[in-house]
Amino acid sequence: MLKKRKTAGVQEINAGSMADIAFLLLIFFLVTTTMDTDAGILRLLPPIVEDVIDPDVVKERNVYIVLVNDADQLLVEGQPMDIKDLREGAKEFMTNPDNSEDLPEKKRITAAECNQKIAEFKGGAAGATSEKDKQTYRELAEKWQDKLEAVQLLGEYMELPGSAVISLQTGSKTSYDMYVKVQNELEAGISELRNELSKSKFDRKFDELDDKNDDDKPLIKAVRLVYPQRISEAEPVEVVR
């Protein structure tokens, strides 16, 4: 009798619910953990150059000037503007839908022109004497080659002049918050344009194109060529109130 009792012994603690607890924990952390990936607005600063380009070379219509003063107010192309209109403003500048005199003059790029230019520059490279000239010709030919590829993918498109740029200038007391907002709006304008173009031509938004996929790479390149992201972080200038 006594012996029998002993074998029944100390009861094992039921640990079946431990798994539930662990799962609960796991789910809790799954939901709450924010993976600390750093994200933000990527920008490329212009290198410091000794010989500044003559401002006359860049036509006024090709520059979209955005000024932010110390009181965080916007002055866009000489007109006060609300931040919520900036996106549309940037889009208008990039597309110039009405062929306005104040906005960049767009040029139609055709396959015929590309082919002609490529042939021309290739011939130039072959005929050039110095190595430096050859290099320049080759680069030019490559540039037109890229355009040709874009035409093949997108059809004939309107090209922004090379000097077209959005210039952003801030005062010394502009808040960083405002600065990021402005950058964000400009970026949003460009990415909306890219998305629209990509959607209409490839039936996929630009954001959905995968830059690691070899099939998508030329598409991304072509769309970028049509709507280049040219936001200049100009030399610091004093902006008065």
């Binding site: 039921n14 640990a15 796991l26 607005i41 010394s172």
Partner: protein, 151 residues
């Protein structure tokens, strides 16, 4: 007496706990993979501004952080200051910092280094512009304005 004993003796069969270690390991691995060790103690207080058009920084090993914000310690005032590595820094410290960071990387990786600016949203642009100018002078041109993801 015997009736009661009978009832007590019939214990429920123990639930197998063999899978418990697996679960715990899963948890462990999950955290091992996701946890990011904070390399530096922040000496400045930073609330990042919000933006919607953000790009994620791909290669963490090639990102250097630069912090600007008011000091955490109230005794040091409320003016925004810059922090590099784990100490306060002045503008002229940027160039050596950039150089030091370039030296510890492979040569081919140097052009791909991104400097991420973690700046408090209430900072005036003055210090940010100055820092940007310094970065340009050191030829550190790839920068990122760190933001939090807005709506």
């Amino acid at each position: 007496m015997s009736r009661f004993k009978d009832k007590g003796g019939k214990s429920t069969p123990p639930i197998s706990t063999a899978s418990l270690p697996d679960i715990i390991f899963m948890l462990l691995f999950f955290f091992m993979v996701t946890t990011v060790m904070r390399e530096t103690d922040l000496l400045v207080k930073i609330t990042l501004p919000e933006a919607t058009q953000v790009t994620k920084l791909e290669d963490k090993a090639l990102v250097d952080y630069l912090y600007i914000g008011p000091p955490v310690s109230k005794a040091l005032g409320t003016e925004p200051v810059m922090q590099l590595n784990d100490q306060f820094a002045k503008l002229e410290d940027i160039d050596p910092w950039v150089k030091a960071n370039e030296e510890r990387r492979q040569e081919v990786e140097v052009p791909r280094i991104t400097r991420s600016l973690k700046v408090d949203k209430d900072t005036y642009m003055k210090i940010v512009t100055d820092v940007k100018q310094e970065l340009r002078k050191s030829n550190a041109l790839k920068i990122n304005y760190s933001t939090s993801q807005g709506r």
